[in-house]
């Protein structure tokens, strides 16, 4: 059975586009885990709330970019508040405690969203409409824009961490929080800021994703599940690994969708997850420590 070359190329592009958004969501997750050993089960809710907040701003202003900005700021702030009130007091305790805490938070946020925004789905319109011709398909420009923006945000984060004034604080705290504190770095503040950044990235993903699927309560579920898989496969706490894993898994799923339905293609991701846990549990792209 020959695979048409154009179909393959389309799936490559689809895979990369989806992969970039996934990378954006997963980066926030892995950043948070890497620095404070917290698995943020509320990440999907921050994603969804970001989309809802964005949709509200969009409704009043009609401007996509304002919506994006507002969601990022608003949810970032929410993240900071959550971390300070709920997670900071739990630092240093049994990891199960923080898992329960973020899980509880996810339930609270889910129900809040239902109460605040109601069950009716919302809409955010993409800022650029129009398609270009990709072989026999009309490929929307917006999808490409999303990929580019995601890459830009992740790139911005990486640049900040590597060269930014306080990037060193984040990287040092991630590697050794005790020694970072002994060097005068205000570790609790760094934790709060990083959590806020992670939340803001989730919110940005939500707004970017909004025009593609519509804003509703279940919009992120599949995506968040994949994000967790990406974080494990890429190596928990490993930013570069998450990005590679996100693209890798999305490409695999995109190729699999050539033969099976997309709903079934997700099996591929689970297979990779299981293989990773069996043979390279610290991450596919991370050398296994001896």
């Amino acid at each position: 059975m020959t695979i048409p070359f154009d179909l393959l190329l389309i799936q490559v592009i689809n895979g990369i586009v989806t992969g970039m958004i996934l990378a954006l969501v997963a980066s926030g997750l892995t950043l948070i885990f890497g620095i404070m050993d917290v698995v943020n089960f509320a990440h999907g809710e921050l994603f969804m709330l970001g989309a809802y907040l964005g949709s509200t701003v969009f409704l009043t202003t009609g401007n996509f970019w304002l919506a994006l900005g507002a969601a990022v700021m608003g949810i970032g702030l929410l993240g900071a508040v959550i971390q300070t009130t709920t997670l900071r007091p739990l630092l240093g305790r049994d990891p199960l405690t923080t898992i329960l805490a973020t899980f509880g938070l996810s339930l609270v946020l889910q129900n809040y969203a239902l109460w605040q925004y109601g069950p009716v789905p919302r809409k955010i319109n993409e800022p650029i409409t129009g398609h270009f011709s990709l072989f026999y398909l009309e490929y929307p420009w917006y999808r490409l824009l999303v990929a580019v923006l995601s890459a830009a945000i992740i790139g911005g984060l990486w640049l900040f961490m590597k060269y930014g004034k306080y990037g060193i604080w984040i990287r040092a705290t991630t590697q050794d929080r005790v020694m970072a504190a002994a060097m005068g770095i205000p570790v609790p503040l760094v934790h709060t800021v990083v959590f806020a950044i992670g939340a803001a990235m989730a919110a940005a993903s939500g707004v970017l994703f909004g025009p593609l699927t519509g804003v509703n309560h279940a919009m992120g579920l599949d995506f968040i599940l994949r994000a967790f898989i990406v974080v494990v496969v890429g190596g928990m706490g490993n930013l570069g690994g998450s990005i590679l894993a996100a693209i890798f898994l999305s490409l695999l799923e995109a190729f699999a969708s050539i033969w099976v339905s997309p709903a079934q293609a997700v099996i591929v991701s689970f297979v990779v997850l299981i293989l990773t846990l069996l043979f390279r549990p610290t991450g596919l792209f991370v050398p296994t420590p001896k």
Binding site: R171, A172, A182, P186
Partner: protein, 235 residues
């Protein structure tokens, strides 16, 4: 300047420090000797806020600091060089130094001056400034750990076994660095197993045994009479 009074520290139920009292005056080099497991490292960790004491007081320049957060103590002027160095392996040498250098209130000229000074004392760090910390040899990592502490412009450095695992040539270098620091008026609380080095650089020495300070003498006396040393360190 630094006064530790009757400090008790537990790790869970394990009672490690049974009432430790130590004083360090401004600019003094004070040694803390004792066999393994007596609580020397725990004493430093308690001072640095890495472990919370259950009893006792710690005052620094008149302020009570027992149980304070480590980053606060670093800002007050206490720097810590741990036993296993703990440099940031994935950061470059320069970035390691910057964790101490990038503080509020340090104008660019002073930054550059500090960096130049440390590169002068440790030329190998200038050579390797863009290399990841984890690629440095053991001795170089020790240099980096001390240099990093110096970036805080501390009033006192808590040095935990700086010569452990180092070749004799590097031990001599540590000696020189301690002399330089002393010359700059930085106080040092030196935990060591290397008796000779300790006696050479310290003005006073404390001896610990089983979680308490058992003896305290000027280094000059100890250089003449080493019976005490055999008692607390020998077999």
């Amino acid at each position: 300047m630094l006064s530790v009074q009757n400090v008790h520290t537990y790790y869970g139920k394990s009672h490690i420090l049974h009432g430790v009292s130590i004083d360090v005056g401004p600019g003094e080099v004070v040694g803390l000797l004792g066999r393994n497991g007596v609580g020397k490292s725990t004493t430093l960790k308690t001072i640095m806020g890495l472990v919370r004491p259950s009893e006792g007081t710690i005052t620094f320049e008149g302020r009570s600091v027992a149980g304070a957060a480590p980053y606060h103590l670093a800002r007050l002027g206490i720097a810590y060089v741990p036993e296993d160095r703990r440099i940031f392996r994935l950061l470059t040498v320069l970035e390691n130094l910057r964790t101490g250098l990038d503080r509020p209130g340090v104008p660019p000229e002073r930054r550059d001056a500090l960096l130049a000074k440390v590169y002068g004392s440790f030329p190998v760090l200038r050579e390797r400034r863009n290399q990841a910390g984890g690629t440095l040899s053991g001795g170089e990592q020790q240099m980096l750990a001390i240099a990093r502490a110096m970036m805080l412009e501390p009033k006192i450095i808590l040095l935990d076994e700086p010569t452990e695992g180092l070749m004799p040539r590097m031990v001599a270098q540590i000696h020189e660095i301690i002399d330089v620091l002393h010359g700059d008026g930085v106080a040092i609380l030196l935990v060591e197993q290397n008796v000779r080095l300790t006696l050479e650089v310290s003005s006073r020495v404390y001896f610990m045994e089983k979680g308490v300070v058992r003896h305290h003498a000027p280094a000059a006396d100890l250089r003449r009479n080493d019976a005490v040393i055999h008692q607390y360190l020998g077999v």
